[in-house]
């Protein structure tokens, strides 16, 4: 017979809160594990009544959906917290944001309705800043890439070198107009900005896979590493190909 923990069972989850947060600036160097530790501590400091799993080693009920890789910034990361006492989502947004270090910033909190959050995150909008790259070369490479049916790329994964297609997952890919200079700013070096919508697939196609694709089809090789930011995630619109806000379905029926 297995030993059973003494004492009462943990209090049940009465509400699930969905959180959209950003990973900005220096904190883009946090890994997924770093973030989950930071969130657990912030939840405790903020006094949010997080529910715990049963067992000898109870874990807070916090789940994460599709975290951006270490080194990549994001304006659209998602997590879900199970609480054992109903909370006002707006208050949780403020308290959690105040408890998290600056750079991990809470943007939006809603009460979850039916359906899993992860299933709604069908695609992402990525922005890649490529300092020192030539806009004309970028335009040409993008055109070549989009006109190709398949672009086989390679990436080293935990299971060794893997070959897969980086083209089909890319819904849109454009060269954004160069960075506009705001008043008082020093003239910046030329910088190409790519914007792309990529469908989430297995194996996942990452922004750097697309970059490798651009190099393979058109020899496009920016001189320095890309600064990558995820701008949005959500269900992909069949017509526009753009992601919608994944919280729309939770908000349907009006704010509480």
């Amino acid at each position: 017979m297995k030993p059973v923990p003494e004492g009462p069972a943990p209090e049940p989850t009465v509400q699930r809160l969905r959180v959209r947060y950003a990973k900005r600036g220096r904190l883009r160097f946090t890994s997924h594990r770093d973030i989950s530790r930071a969130v657990e501590r912030a939840v405790r400091r903020a006094g949010i009544p997080v529910a715990y799993s049963a067992g000898f080693n109870p874990h807070p009920k916090i789940s994460y959906a599709g975290a951006a890789p270490t080194g990549v910034a994001s304006e659209a990361e998602y997590l879900e917290i199970g609480v054992n006492r109903a909370c006002d989502p707006r208050r949780v947004r403020d308290d959690l944001d105040a408890s998290l270090p600056p750079g991990l910033d809470v943007l939006d909190v809603v009460e979850a309705r039916d359906g899993g959050l992860a299933d709604r995150l069908e695609g992402s909008v990525w922005e890649l800043r490529l300092p020192g790259a030539e806009p004309e070369e970028a335009e040409r490479a993008v055109k070549e890439f989009l006109s190709a049916g398949h672009v086989e790329v390679e990436r080293l994964t935990k299971k060794g070198m893997r070959r897969f297609d980086a083209r089909q997952a890319v819904r849109t890919l454009t060269v954004v107009e160069g960075p506009e200079k705001t008043a008082g700013q020093e003239p910046v070096q030329p910088c190409v900005i790519l914007r792309m919508v990529v469908r989430h697939e297995t194996p996942a196609v990452r922004p750097d896979d697309v970059l490798m694709g651009l190099r393979l089809v058109a020899g496009f090789a920016p001189p320095s590493p890309a600064a990558v930011t995820r701008l949005a995630q959500g269900p992909l619109d069949a017509v526009t190909g753009e992601p919608a806000d994944p919280f729309d379905l939770d908000r349907a029926g009006g704010e509480r």
Binding site: P3, P5, E6, G7, R26, L27, F29, T30, S31, R33, D34, I35, R37, A38, E40, R41, A42, V43, R44, R45, Y52, F56, N57, P58, P60, T70, G71, S99, P101, P102, G103, S224, P225
Partner: protein
């Protein structure tokens, strides 16, 4: 003159290195003070990787205390991994602090905390990356004062050439005092330059400035004497002792990192010092006397620390936590306060004979069973008498029986190999002990689902202990005994599979021994190892015994000494030891007598509970034992 942040130059390197978050700073409760508003600026270094250094209590305490001073600022720096070191060299980025990302060379003091001697090569990397000359003699007014502290600083002689100064003992008050001397000297316009500043520090008798002392040697290699080489420098330097820990309730705001570190908990030191008198234990000798933090201060610190950090585990820290005079009330009080809150308690060091069922129950009240570790240290009764670890086999069996019958399934046991007078049979005794532990566990639980892990490493004789005269056991003998023990454990059909075995081989202990009891001549070895690429010697994947031995051979050429001379050679009573001019308060004659008692299997009691046996610390240092009970209790926390 302001100092620019190096972060814009560091940032492009970070995507190319492992765990970049460790170099970014921004920990919860970290502080970046205005550079220009401070007069005295400290860079505090823990000379190991961030994941080891960040949780270090000493650095966190000094960081907070110094930053509370109005005209002082303190930032932290850690050893960078070789991947970043290579990039910093190629891109010309100097050693930086993680708080303001300021260059370490711009600070007034580089304070380095040495918990172990294996951080010495990392000091050299940091100095070199910072652009600070490795040898103190080559430094100018543009360089910080390089100041060592921590337990290894009780014999800083091997790194004396790289240091400007060293401090022995508790850092709280002396750090403030040094800051004040610096502030005064700077406000006077830095008269007399670096030398006068060092002289002002040295003349207090509380700061050791190696270059003000000359070491003279006998032709056979032994030290003849160590003497001050200028007027006004005291012949002995004394350690520092904070007497009232309730007046120094630090850390108040623990640093909470984003990166994963070795200790993910809020630690409160519940007392400092230990007088159990284990003869191998340098910490127990140099931190005397015992000074308890009161139950109420501990309660307040835990409450504030949890609120400030969000940690879910509280470590009650000390050299032997179950020995606090009110440990039962502390653990019960804390367990009551945090009942049902998922806050777990742990006692990192618990003596076998001080553990009991009440403690076991309080520690596991919220359902968690953190691991239990006990350290009998010696495998036979005779061995434990030699080292004065007064723990009997009955104590151990009774304690593990309590633990197993209260739900623990796993117990870890720590031992040492290569202790003075040790023979093969003493080490093989560990196997018998482990089997008895499993047998007791099976009987107590009626189940075969109990385990124990035997963890064992080589013994290193340390300065300021009764074993400072002892011959260190050679690594061949240590490794042979460790293999024999493994065989004895594995070959047992009844118990073998229930016993795990972890060991550290004997070679690193020889290097640690060289560095622990070395003199100034050993500095050449350290430098040669570092120049040959030696880094992170505390990490087995980076440590190279061959590199150390090859460097020693070159460095000692033409000298009457070698590695064996420093390690496996027994010293006689009157040999001048490299640290004899550094005073931890311990009476040398008492230490020698205790060494003789060890050889005669004579035990010594704890002076907390029996009359004083004249170790010398209290009269020399003007200190006294500070223990409870206070009779106070922890009241439930009221929610306002």
């Amino acid at each position: 003159m302001s100092v620019e942040s190096l972060f814009p130059r560091l940032e492009p390197l970070l995507p190319k290195v492992q765990k970049p978050i460790q170099y970014v700073g921004g920990e919860l409760n970290s502080t970046v003070k205005d550079w220009d508003e401070a007069t005295v600026r400290w860079a505090l270094m823990y000379p190991d990787a961030y994941e080891v250094g960040l949780p270090n209590q000493g650095v966190q305490i000094l960081y907070e205390i110094l930053n509370e001073l109005p005209e002082t600022l303190a930032e932290r720096t850690y050893a960078v991994w070789p991947d970043l070191e290579a990039l910093m060299r190629s891109e010309g980025v100097p050693q930086f602090t993680v708080d303001g990302h300021r260059p370490v060379r711009a600070f007034d003091v580089l304070g380095v905390s040495f918990a172990t001697e294996l951080g010495y090569t990392n000091l050299l990397t940091a100095l070199d990356l910072a652009g600070i000359p490795l040898e103190a003699a080559d430094r100018t007014g543009e360089d910080p004062i390089v100041l060592a502290g921590g337990h290894a600083a009780f014999n800083p002689e091997p790194i004396a050439g790289f240091l400007d100064a060293a401090v022995l003992g508790d850092g709280e008050q002396i750090a403030i005092a040094i800051s004040e001397v610096l502030r005064e000297w700077k406000s006077e316009g830095s008269p007399g330059g670096r030398d006068e500043l060092l002289m002002r520090l040295a003349s207090t008798g509380g700061v050791y400035v190696p270059k003000f002392y000359d070491v003279e040697y006998h032709p056979d290699g032994r030290i003849m004497r160590v003497v001050p080489n200028r007027d006004g420098v005291p012949s002995r330097v004394f350690k520092h002792t904070v007497m009232d820990l309730d007046e120094w309730p630090y850390p108040k705001k623990p640093l909470v990192p984003l990166a994963e570190t070795v200790h993910e908990r809020f630690s409160v030191e519940i007392f400092r010092g230990c007088t159990r008198g284990c003869r191998f234990c340098q910490a127990g000798m140099i931190t005397r006397p015992v000074r308890e933090r009161s139950i109420t201060t501990v309660g307040d610190m835990v409450e504030a620390g949890i609120k400030e950090s969000g940690f879910s585990e509280v470590g009650l820290l000390s050299l032997s936590s179950a020995d606090h005079s009110e440990i039962a009330d502390i653990t019960r009080g804390l367990a009551d306060r945090y009942d049902g809150s998922q806050i777990g308690l742990s006692l990192p060091s618990t003596r076998v004979d001080a553990f009991n069922i009440d403690l076991a129950n309080e520690l596991s009240r919220n359902g968690r069973r953190s691991g239990l570790t006990f350290a009998p240290e010696g495998g036979s009764e005779r061995m434990r008498k030699v080292i004065n670890k007064m723990v009997t086999e009955e104590d151990l069996i009774r304690t593990v029986t309590t633990a197993y019958s209260n739900g623990w399934r796993q117990v870890k046991l720590y031992f040492m190999c290569g202790l003075p007078t040790e023979e093969d049979v003493d080490v093989l005794g560990i196997a018998d002990l482990a089997k008895k532990v499993i047998r007791a566990g099976r009987e107590a639980t009626g189940s075969r689902d109990v385990r124990c892990t035997v963890s064992i490493g080589g013994f290193v004789p340390k300065p300021h202990t009764p074993f400072q005269w002892a011959a260190q056991c050679d690594h061949e003998t240590v490794d042979r005994r460790l293999r024999a023990l493994r065989e004895a454990l594995r070959s047992d059909k009844e118990y073998g599979r229930a016993i795990g075995y972890r060991y550290h081989d004997g070679k690193p202990s020889i290097v640690e021994g060289l560095l622990s009891r070395g003199d100034r001549r050993v500095g050449r070895v350290i430098r040669a190892v570092w120049e040959d690429g030696g880094r992170f010697d505390g990490w087995s994947e980076h440590f190279s015994f061959e590199r150390w031995m090859a460097a020693a051979e070159r460095a000692f050429e033409g000298e009457p000494v070698d590695v064996e001379w420093y390690t496996t050679r027994e010293r006689d009573e009157h040999e001048v030891l490299p640290w004899d001019h550094l005073d931890a308060g311990l009476d040398r004659e008492w230490l020698w007598q205790d060494w003789q008692d060890a050889l005669g299997d004579v035990e010594v009691e704890d002076c907390r509970w029996t009359p004083c046996y004249d170790c010398g610390v209290c009269p020399t240092m003007g200190t006294e034992i500070q223990v409870g009970p206070t009779g106070r209790k922890l009241l439930p926390l009221t929610v306002i």
